[in-house]
Symmetry: C2
Subunit: 319 residues, 2 copies
């Protein structure tokens, strides 16, 4: 193996990226573009070449933001222990199952120098039950990115009962140094915030299709041309504040709160039956119109980069 | 009154804007910026001066998009009948109650030249029951914008059983000529598409606050930094297609459909009690941090315009 690069050799710390699937690739690409060194490990054979080529493939997506991954700072470690040696931060991105994560996190705790934060990218699991009994429980945290992890600003952070405040603070500072917009949850919840909001909206989006109100393409266009833009500009609570006019949210809730409650009561939970799934797939294929997932991802990434540049410019003007 | 301007005097048609509250102002500002003439009417005394100054006040929001409302094409009519005389399209924006809309729509049907489409901006009501018995039922449609109506691209269109296909087609073409992104629903539903998606997400956003997972500011930041951007770039159905990797939505639903269903089952409907409303208002005031609704609107509008410019540029590149 090459020596993991430490602070002496690099302007930033070395981050151990453990697990180099889609999310690990995104983390590595961003960290390498932000001047950090990445020491990566994955148990699958041949991961080093795949990782290098997949990080390379993120150049086009990152270029509009002026971000260029520096592959000379990427090291593929031969073992997990080598990957975490000298690392100042560990980002774990293993398959999202208890069976995969639990032993891995225990091994990471044993192998990683004391006090170094170990963040898990888990989307589906609660972290605390996986690490509560580990000696280093205080340095574990949730550090959940949104796909594509190199472009999406959000990182959701939460800790368990044993996670130290210092760990959370260091993680917030670390993700900010990557240009991320980290948020800290008061406590863990399945799906965190963004995943729950997405699931809540998807529930209704599926119901609208099943009820024949509109096809998937129409629902998607309606969302992109309205609430997507709105929520990229202002969050949902603040949006309803503005929806109340000069009286703000208090006026909104007094006058339209009952209408919200009626709407909530009118919603239902679809069952993802084989028939409904087949219909959703067929209608999404109509949206794709022959474009592969990779082609659609490239179009999405170009739009995301344009939106991020625009928001950055708008913020700069508003100071 | 001044004469309503017809096609002879203007490059575009004259639109009758009936009701000049927040939504009517937005419609008028956009139409005047797109080269149309607007003949406006509102029953409230002094509306003409308020409308002119409020349209004028939209200049700053529209300027980044190169849109400049031409106030010389704005006519304040003395009566509803004068407003619709010579109009090629009617956009109704009265208060969103059955009591306000029902007699108004009947009067509009009687006063407006045969065959001229009459679109209602209603958010809360179903249109068909209000117009089903009118002689001109076939020319009524829902033409629902999203606030701010001059910036948000979406217009939701639906008709009742008696609405003609020609009416829908003309409305789609009309809104497209304004630079809008119209979508046509297969049938009416309370809240249309965007309002239902917003309510579905708001339900969970309120539950997250009530459950103490995070305060309103954190929920809003998490949404803006993730799903807002994502859904502005690609709709929700297509997003899950991309979430499935090379296998697309079929793979996603087979592998993570059960997780979605578990998440849906874990959600609940909050009750907007006085205590919860007070808490939401207090947490939104923390986000506002002393800024008035008008100041927050100006910031939102600047971000929206920047996002719209960015998307337009990204689309132009992708051709």
């Amino acid at each position: 193996m090459e020596q993991p690069r430490g602070e002496a050799a690099a302007p930033g710390i070395t981050v151990a990226v453990i697990g180099t699937g889609l999310i690990g690739v995104g983390w590595a690409a961003l960290m390498l573009a932000r001047g950090l060194s990445v020491s990566a490990w994955d148990p699958s054979p041949g991961f080093a070449e795949r990782l290098a080529s997949q990080v390379e493939a993120r150049r086009a997506a990152l270029a509009p933001l002026g971000l260029v991954p520096n592959l000379s700072r990427l090291t593929a470690a031969a073992t997990l222990e080598e990957a975490v040696y000298g690392a100042g931060f560990v980002q774990e991105n293993a398959p999202d199952t208890d069976a995969a994560k639990r032993p891995l996190l225990a091994t990471l705790d044993a192998a990683t120098a004391q006090g170094v934060p170990i963040a898990s990218s888990t989307s589906a699991l609660l972290l605390s039950p996986l690490v509560a009994d580990l000696p280093g429980a205080e340095r574990f945290l949730l550090g959940h990115p949104i796909n594509p992890a190199d472009l999406m600003p959000l990182v959701e952070i939460s800790g368990g009962e044993r996670t130290s405040r210092a760990t959370i603070d260091r993680a917030v500072a670390f993700y900010r140094s990557l240009g991320k917009r980290p948020v800290v949850l008061n406590r863990e919840v399945a799906g965190h915030i963004a995943g729950r909001l997405a699931a809540a909206l998807y529930r209704e989006a599926v119901a609208l299709v099943e009820d024949g109100i509109a096809d998937a393409a129409t629902v998607d266009e309606a969302l992109s041309a309205s609430m997507g833009l709105r929520w990229a500009a202002t969050g949902v609570h603040l949006s309803y504040h503005l929806g109340g006019g000069p009286g703000g949210l208090a006026h909104y809730l007094d006058h339209l709160g009952p209408a919200q409650e009626r709407r909530w009561a009118s919603m239902r939970t679809p069952a993802l039956t084989p028939d409904l799934k087949a219909r959703l797939v067929s209608e999404v294929e109509a949206i794709a119109a022959g474009r592969s997932v990779a082609e659609l991802e490239a179009e999405r990434d170009a739009r995301l980069a344009a939106l991020l540049r625009a928001l950055g410019a708008a913020e700069a003007r508003h100071g």
